[in-house]
Symmetry: C2
Subunit: 311 residues, 2 copies
């Protein structure tokens, strides 16, 4: 009688059969797209649906905060998820995991101005780090080849984003994250840098860390109070008139998380998002440093753009 | 037509519905037992089968090295796994994952004497850290409440190990790991300390770290060349004649991994096994320090024993 009940699953995986290559479609590589989500934007979902990487090779993972804002975002996300997963087969994703944190957002306001205040950043980014780690530790599986971190307010990317980033075959690679805005001076739609977390280190920043910072202090980019003299990928863009090379790669010491492609092996080695000061860095920038300590180099694509929602 | 195919899985988890409590059976809490395994011991498996925590709430995860030794261990493990999972329902585990590393053991010899040489320890423990992280990141799921790390050469524990450790309701807790041996002087079977990685820090160790160690140096326990003056849990055992309290708890700054019970939330926050020098610590000891940075305290049970195989 007992023998008739199916034996529980036993699965056996050879990690060296799991490729993470420049030709992920040919090798049927599984991509896990992970999004911490405090607000739902329809444009984000529409952009996700347009990705041309085979959806049956994509799993999605979301983590949302507790509380009123989190509830609203969850409801909006669930509605789109249901619609997609019951819709045309080609658009459906392999699996979708939605996690709800047991903590609320640390800031009462998600307003862009409030969010970006220096004293709020350490608390915010420590909380973001824990949310990212929870999502990562909970959703990565034995068949995951790539992890693509994609913020919920990235509303425009090339449809070939996954293939484009994978084609470089780098352990860690980030596009340049810009923002579209309406320039009232010349009545034109233009673009401007948004994410300043992708950078190359400077001797000044190194020295500052040695001389001025306490063990738990964090050095963050984009604050006049604390100039770092790092080289920001935001400013490494070639002149659009000069037929720039969209495939141009630069070495990075810090990376942003708005769109961040990582070989699963990098995370499996233990590279995560430090919620504490790690070499005076935190979250995605701390991740790049931790990966470096594990001998994984980060790269950036200054001429390849994704766009952040404009509040 | 398309509508007839079942929609792919969408799962929604509230992390605050996931309890990790002192009464895990009543709350139906899932335990993930994780074992890095270079050699298979039948006594380990027999001991695992005797655990009285409901097996349907236990998932097992193994990671084995590549190469000849790994192949032999895998074959032996697979055989026992098949036998158990097809056997009596009550003994079957909920699920079992077996991962094979794409790297071999860093040391050519797994001999106890070779393993414990100081110059070999840093390389070994960095490799062990990566193996542990791979296993953890790959097997933790949204319903995991507890992670119990159990080395493959722990051949004897109380059958109530899981309940006993959980009953303390601590973020991180370790029993004392001893070894049985035959004392030729008095012709008696006796026990002696085996694992020296569970300890309380000392001002001397702190000072040593400040004065003498380079940024990538590691301070390890149990080497005469490098006395640390830490207080080792191995030596905190109360006199067996004095009716000692097996539930006695001590605070720890470093923990060993032979048997190590961790609330899943600690790992989800990002606490992993650093494969690099983290505050001059590595692997399980570095894990305790990293957890501490995340405000999770480690505890030890000096009078509660598990036993390591005697080669
Ligand atoms: N789960 C979770 N996600 C959050 C929280 N706060 C922000 N996010 C998400 O994390 C990402 C980065 O946050 P955002 O506020 O856009 O940062 P900024 O653009 O760098 O100022 C976005 O995808 C947000 O939706 C939070 O408390 N919990
Ligand atoms: N996956 C994997 N497991 C290993 C490797 N080396 C040792 N182990 C396992 O890791 C645990 C600790 O190793 P062990 O040699 O017993 O360490 P010691 O008792 O502290 O000297 C045991 O469960 C071993 O079977 C390895 O290279 N890969
Ligand atoms: Mn944003
Ligand atoms: Mn051992």
């Amino acid at each position: 009688q007992e023998g008739q009940q199916l034996a529980p699953p036993v699965v056996h995986y050879h990690m060296n059969n799991l490729t993470t290559s420049s030709n992920p479609i040919a090798n049927q590589e599984t991509v896990l797209i992970l999004t911490p989500l405090a607000r739902f934007y329809q444009e984000y979902w529409d952009n996700l649906l347009k990705l041309t990487y085979p959806h049956e090779l994509i799993s999605l993972g979301f983590i949302l905060p507790k509380g009123k804002e989190g509830n609203a975002a969850t409801a909006a996300l669930q509605e789109q998820v249901q619609k997609t997963q019951k819709g045309p087969l080609k658009k459906r994703f392999a699996s979708i995991t939605i996690l709800r944190q047991d903590t609320e957002s640390p800031l009462s306001s998600q307003d862009e101005h409030e969010r970006h205040k220096l004293e709020n950043q350490k608390i915010r980014r420590a909380a973001m780090s824990k949310a990212r780690n929870s999502l990562l530790f909970t959703t990565m599986g034995p068949t995951t080849s790539w992890v693509l971190w994609l913020d919920s307010d990235i509303t425009e990317t090339p449809p070939s984003l996954v293939q484009d980033l994978a084609s470089h075959n780098k352990p860690i690679i980030v596009p340049n994250c810009y923002q579209r805005y309406f320039n009232k001076d010349n009545n034109k739609w233009e673009t401007r840098p948004y994410d300043y977390n992708s950078w190359q280190d400077s001797p000044t920043a190194q020295q500052l860390a040695k001389d001025k910072l306490g063990p738990d202090d964090i050095l963050m980019e984009g604050y006049a109070e604390l100039p770092t003299y790092r080289s920001l990928m935001a400013y490494m863009v070639d002149d659009p008139q000069s037929n720039p090379d969209v495939g141009k790669e630069v070495l990075l010491d810090g990376v942003g998380g708005t769109a961040l492609m990582v070989k699963a092996e990098v995370h499996r080695d233990g590279a995560m998002f430090p919620p504490f000061a790690f070499y005076h860095l935190i979250e995605t920038e701390g991740f790049a440093k931790m990966a470096k300590r594990l001998d994984w180099q980060s790269y950036g694509l200054p001429n390849y753009f994704v766009y952040h929602y404009n509040e």
